[in-house]
Chain length 431, copies 2
């Protein structure tokens, strides 16, 4: 009785490695077509996918209900369940997201620079797609639509590996994306979803450098660290957002209060949320208490260094670990520093090179901070919560890169491209 069942499985289930390589090879072929697809064709696929999402709303909700039921049975927490949930408003959001991506300028084919050499050779640096992008993400099913859409817009084929919790929801969204591709006459393999919950699929994706050009992980720190450790393919990653606001001695108090409260508490779970407040020793006596009043009134826990606690008994003691912790919660660490130089030292030492802000009315202090802080985004007199591709006017984004290679900061369609040099001559040879 056991023998035939094993045989059946063996027939049904091709070895995972062969299936993953087949996905990669299909993606590679689709990428060659996609690289040359015109803007109107790609936009049509995006808009038709949005139409399909609105039309297939009932199927999406049904698939998501099954995912949600499984997730509840597995005892997932409320935050995870909320990330997984699709409702009418979120489905409208998915469709609108695709329409928004269609409305973005097409980066592909743009002449980034052009010059002519003394020998008459005309040289153009032209934007081209990267090729095949692998995206590894956790539970949010919306990433399936956003990432699929951005990769399509930038002329790349994509292999999506979503969280196992959102397996059915992502499959239903993929079905809509493929309707869009088919309607535009583009290859359906342009957007593929790894059709298994087997975690070994991630390891295989990370070791196919001949078939995948770049890996973008989206999710928690442990996922991203695993990807960065194991990948044989270049990774664009947002590791974590340990963001700071530095309130300078020359800061306007009202502005500092408004910015710190927004930077910490507008949304505590986003990567641009501030985790550490640095306050200039010169401003501590006047600015610290009113700023903490606002935070505490909003429900924020305050952890301070000794100097903060000497001024503010409401702060509990911060430890060394607090300076390197991304709380993603209503907690803030607070440290008194010696002016802008002290703030720069602290941020470059403990920060994650993501997003950091100075509040000051002193232009020299601001420029010093902006040039010396080694982060993807540095702000003067603005909230760190602006760290977002949409807020930068770049449209949708696939994440915020904390690395310096290839793309830094918000990663939108333009950052998913490379370039080539097109050289036009009249028979020139090199002397």
């Amino acid at each position: 009785m056991i023998q035939p069942r094993i045989a059946t499985q063996a027939r049904e289930v091709e070895p995972l490695e062969a299936r993953m390589r087949a996905i990669g090879e299909n993606a590679r072929k689709a990428a060659a077509t996609l690289a040359l697809a015109g803007t109107e064709m790609k936009n049509r696929a995006l808009r038709e996918a949005a139409v399909a999402i609105r039309k297939d709303r009932a199927a999406l909700l049904a698939a998501n209900r099954e995912d949600m039921a499984d997730a509840r049975r597995q005892g997932l927490g409320d935050a995870m369940l909320d990330r997984l949930l699709l409702d009418d408003a979120r489905i409208d959001g998915l469709a609108k997201g695709l329409d928004d991506i269609a409305a973005l300028p097409d980066p592909i084919g743009t002449v980034m620079a052009e010059w002519t050499r003394p020998n008459g050779l005309n040289i153009c640096r032209v934007r081209v797609p990267l090729g095949v992008i692998g995206i590894i993400y956790e539970s949010r099913p919306n990433v399936t639509a956003d990432a699929g859409g951005l990769c399509l817009k930038s002329g790349n084929a994509v292999i999506l590996r979503g969280g196992s919790e959102s397996f059915r929801s992502s499959g239903a969204i993929l079905d809509c994306l493929r309707q869009g591709l088919a309607a535009a006459g583009l290859p359906e393999a342009a957007i593929q979803l790894v059709p298994t919950r087997d975690r070994a699929a991630v390891g295989l994706m990370l070791t196919m450098p001949d078939l995948i050009d770049i890996i973008v992980p989206r999710g928690g720190k442990s996922l991203i660290e695993r990807v960065m450790r194991e990948s044989r393919i270049p990774v664009i990653a947002h590791l974590e957002g340990i963001c700071h606001v530095y309130v300078d001695g020359a800061a306007d108090l009202a502005m500092a209060r408004k910015i710190v409260l927004n930077a910490k508490m507008r949304r505590t779970g986003v990567c641009g949320a501030t985790e550490t407040l640095l306050i200039d020793r010169r401003a501590a006596a006047t600015h610290l208490t009113p700023i903490l009043d606002d935070l505490i009134a909003a429900g924020c826990e305050v952890r301070g260094d000794d100097q903060t606690r000497a001024l503010e008994p409401r702060a509990i003691a911060a430890t060394e670990a607090d300076w390197t912790t991304e709380y993603l919660d209503a907690i803030i660490s607070v440290r008194v520093v010696d002016g802008v130089a002290g703030a720069i030292d602290h941020i470059n030492r403990y920060g994650s090179h993501h997003t950091d802000s100075i509040v000051t009315a002193d232009p020299a202090a601001a420029e010093k901070f902006l040039s010396h802080v080694d982060s993807a985004i540095v702000l003067h007199n603005a909230s760190t919560q602006f760290a977002d591709g949409g807020e930068f006017g770049m449209g949708a984004e696939i994440g915020i890169s904390t690395g310096k290679l290839h793309a830094r900061g918000p990663v939108g369609a333009e950052q998913l491209t490379s370039y080539k040099y097109v050289v036009r001559g009249k028979g020139q040879v090199r002397p």
Copy 2:
């Protein structure tokens, strides 16, 4: 008698890993200073290093004589010996190279883009250095000066790991570079040379992602493959140059002859040398023999596919391996293809995405080739030997990248940079 000697060695020789980490930490500190160094300071260091090279000519020649004597004793071949050799002309070249880098525009601090959002936030994308660059190269001592100079110009600290054959020559060049840094008041750790011939040092460099931001290997295929396989740090690499010239049916014969001869034979050992000639079936009867006449007269061996050999008995038989071989020698493989589509298929399948050229008088065929061939450099009616940062007007280069991430094609000072977003506000918070 043996005991004390071992003890002495143990005192003198700190474990290699600790020494390499110390080098990395010194580089990291120097990088922070260098990132903020002004253009004039960096240029002064470059010009003073050039002065030191001219002044210390005798010391450079003496160090090189010792390297050359060792290399001869080890039985190195003539080509390797020639790469290793320094003479008066080459020393002048080193110094001029540094002066040329000083004369290049400084990429650092350039505002690459600037825009203002509807909420009044002003956003600038500003060019910044990458940080610490690790360069691993083989015997040519001139890389020590070129790479050191380019990294300095682009505000990066660099750790150089040269070939063991050029150990003394590179050390003498480094000494001149450090005289330049000292004269300009810049940290000497901005340019460091790994002070050991121990090959384990390379493995250690490749596994210090916290201290080195990017690895650039320069050398043969086996070195580059090792680096790409072992590195835990992003790599910018020129893997190999399997370059093609495609002679279209609409090619002018005189132009085709001139370009093919130059592309193959001007210098056969450079990465932009053509390795394969593709000829349109429509042109084979008229163009093949005169083109081969030139090549054979210049001493080139011809390896052809069956169709080539049917027309040209002088060609010996090419095997499948010929289409993927970088000869770097006076050998060319030749294949008859079906028009521009056949050429594109061959190049995208067998090429190395480096540099490929079409010769044709048909603008439609040219544009199809330029858009469909997936290579860093594509040329129309020009020799592949133009694949060079200097020929592109970019000044010195550190190599030609065959990857698509971060930098593609010639890698000059600008390609050794990243960017940051500088955002200036007036108290904006995110709704």
